[in-house]
Subunit: 472 residues, 2 copies
């Protein structure tokens, strides 16, 4: 403008770019002019401390972080873990105590365990032969004679409310690229099982069956041929309607097909019984995928100074997030499971909070990150494939990379998002959504539904501030 | 208009609806006015005889046809065939001659068989023990000492270039709704096999294995529990990336999962070998689906006076179409397979024409009709899911109904099209596209690619004229 004193010449034709609140754009359009809305909101909800930290971590301190992130992404994308066998936790899980029960999520004392997790501990203690009833088992743990520890501290991941004693059999999964080994239990299958918070005799029987029959048979079958490339199976399953977390049926069926000739050649007496178990367990692959994700994150987690999240786990009381090279858990109260479909007459008032270590799948490009691959998952996130695609796109907004292996047919075979950046999570206040089951909060009736849990942003804020402090 | 003598008042504003040639609409738009194009072309390519027949069959004669079609559609949609066992063709296939070899497609004399089909007959004759070399086998059939007949005339369907002698084992599939039984061979698997036009010793060995080992083992496994609901498996497989024709891997894996505990409990000595065979045969379900489609069409085909196509089959020389209640085949020369992906250096000049009875799958809502379900099929029909959706939509334009069982996730879980109406095919000159493999035309090297065959419209024109004559 040449002079302030002249009247302003208003243009005949207004075309607006509206940044932020949509209402302003609507007002322009209401007057017959064009307006393009740019989605924008105040970073980190306008929290001064977080905005300052973001300024540093995106700005002057970003170079080493970006470099570390690149290496973390490379490891997550290139790790190709192998299922090499099944062993006893006492023999294979590092530093497994003789009187220890491992539980999912961040460490937690007995007093703070939610009901389904307590029941799970009961069943594990009875299966170990340390007690005969749930009441006895509970007293034993409360007395301190049995120690509780976070499975993640032993390179082990546990789905839902699973807990694990030293005699339990675990899948042995190795990442040859990172020379790391991780562990997960044999999936117990659907129904009245310990991992779903049931401590009745049938749940204990299943634990004993897995230890005494399924473990040895599966170990022999797996070792009878080449080890199984877990993420190759997951990649195929994504072309077959799995997200490999909430639904892992295609991956399970592929696994069964690989093992079929080996099972038929075994001399083990329990092979037929294990066949029935596998045939009725469409969730079998779940823990294979989890152990592979954990082996991957153990390798990626060796990198220091990265802002990429390498751990997400819940114990039903707290939700914890981990960063590479950092021992600390960044925690917040466990969230409810939302967008839920409940069995029968159950409803949100019956539901325990989000629980289990399976959220690690969301960090390697599976689960919620691969929702767009799964028509079955679509039913849980809104009912249409467009809703499933939206769930994937949301995780993509907070992720730094794309999988070169996990392809999404509905998105033109684009790689699923991986490498959740704690900076983006805090800036955009979008957290990873996790496709998961829902347990009964108090009655030990097992799974009562399934839905989507949204990781609490508070964990990521704490992680961001710790990263900021460490990089100072 | 009140008077012809007054000058015509031209409107200031022209908005055109343009029917037919797009160029006229473009001309209107070039002058700055709006034009909506309506896709329209002359019915039946303007052929006077066909247009007249269509006029009658859509017009005065339509009522009984529409009524018959409704019943045919109901039967196609409601039939739920069961795999009940495996038997010898000599025992189970109706009117199977002692010295007969069944072949796919319409009946054809030896002299007119294409090279892959001749080779297949060689292998079948050697497996029966009637000759020792392909040369001997060829002479025997040419001499008339071995009879050839169309498998469809014996309620049997054969994929690709399969041929079948009396000792061969066949899947026994029953439609309880229609009380009809149909038959198909055990799928031979990928590689150098007879069904892909190979007559070398390894192909004969596979036929002997299927007869002597796999047949009895599978029969025992299937009978050891409930029969398998074939279309229920197909319906699940459509949610898992199969079209259940070109790709049937998910359906095969589901079948394996169902049979696993039964196989592990068998006393049969060959069970382990059959396990290896199943584990390496991702195409196993194909013939289960075909037999189920045939059992369905045998029931639907009992209705008289319908314009819904109940048979489509090719012998590599001719392509044949069938209508309910009519014995006649309406034939035309077999088309080439287009939109093809070839293995290695092979190309269209090496390709035999379209062959096999599997096109019956396209008529029950599977295969091309379900292309939109399959990311793997998308690769063959253009590369993107949009191309696969377009293939399904094209069949929908010539189909009268939608499956209430086969749902397409990419199309909002809409049912796949079924009930191809010969009137619509002739009117629109759109024929069903068939997802299929490609065999070598002369060298007996087996499968050299895969692609899409378009049924020749000539078959449908003949069928339409016959329906017109019969309804006079």
């Amino acid at each position: 403008m040449e002079s302030n004193s002249e009247p302003i010449a208003l243009p005949d034709d207004v075309r607006a770019v509206n940044v932020g609140l949509a209402a302003f754009g609507e007002a322009v359009r209401a007057q017959g002019a064009e307006a393009v809305d740019v989605e924008w909101s105040i970073p980190a909800g306008g929290d001064r401390e977080l905005v300052d930290a973001l300024g540093r971590l995106y700005g002057p301190r970003s170079a080493p972080i970006d470099q570390a992130n690149e290496e973390v992404l490379r490891r997550i994308d290139e790790s190709a873990p192998l299922l090499v066998g099944v062993g006893a936790a006492a023999d294979d899980v590092p530093e497994m105590g003789e009187r220890t029960i491992l539980h999912p999520g961040p460490p937690l004392p007995w007093e703070e365990l939610c009901d389904p997790l307590r029941r799970s501990v009961h069943a594990a203690v009875i299966a170990e032969g340390w007690a005969e009833t749930p009441q006895e088992a509970g007293k034993l743990v409360a007395s301190g004679e049995v120690e509780l520890d976070a499975a993640n501290h032993h390179d082990t991941v546990l789905p839902m409310a699973t807990t694990l004693g030293p005699s339990a059999r675990v899948l042995l999964v190795e990442s040859p690229q990172g020379d790391r080994r991780a562990f997960a239990p044999i999936n117990q299958g659907p129904g009245d099982q310990q991992w779903l918070g049931v401590d009745r005799p049938e749940a204990v029987e299943r634990l004993v069956f897995l230890r005494d029959v399924a473990g040895p048979v599966l170990d022999a079958a797996i070792r009878a041929g080449d080890p199984l490339d877990v993420f190759s199976i997951a990649a195929q399953a994504l072309q077959m309607g799995d997200d490999a977390h909430m639904r892992s049926q295609a991956a399970t069926n592929l696994t069964i097909r690989f093992l079929l000739p080996r099972l038929l050649r075994l001399e083990e007496p329990g092979a037929a019984e294990v066949g029935t178990f596998l045939s009725q367990n469409h969730l079998f692959f779940l823990t294979m995928g989890m152990a592979a994700a954990k082996a991957t994150m153990l390798w990626a987690g060796e990198v220091e100074g990265s802002s990429v999240v390498t751990g997400m786990a819940r114990n039903g009381t707290t939700f914890g997030v981990r960063l590479p090279g950092v021992d600390e858990w960044f925690t917040a109260p466990a969230p409810p499971v939302e967008d839920a479909l409940f069995h029968g007459d159950y409803g949100p008032e019956d539901a325990a909070p989000d629980i289990g270590d399976s959220a690690i799948l969301e960090l390697v490009g599976l689960g919620g990150a691969a929702a767009a691959a799964s028509p079955a998952v679509a039913a849980f996130v809104g009912g249409t494939m467009a809703d499933a695609v939206a769930a994937t796109e949301e995780i993509a907004r907070i992720s730094l990379g794309k999988s070169s292996r996990f392809k999404l047919p509905y998105l033109g075979f684009r790689g699923s998002p991986l490498g959740v950046d704690v900076r983006r999570v805090v800036e955009l206040e979008i957290t990873p959504s996790i496709n998961t089951g829902i347990l009964h909060a108090s009655e030990g009736t097992g799974q009562i539904g399934a839905g989507v849990a949204h990781a609490p942003v508070e964990c990521f804020r704490r992680a961001l501030l710790a990263l900021d402090a460490a990089s100072a």
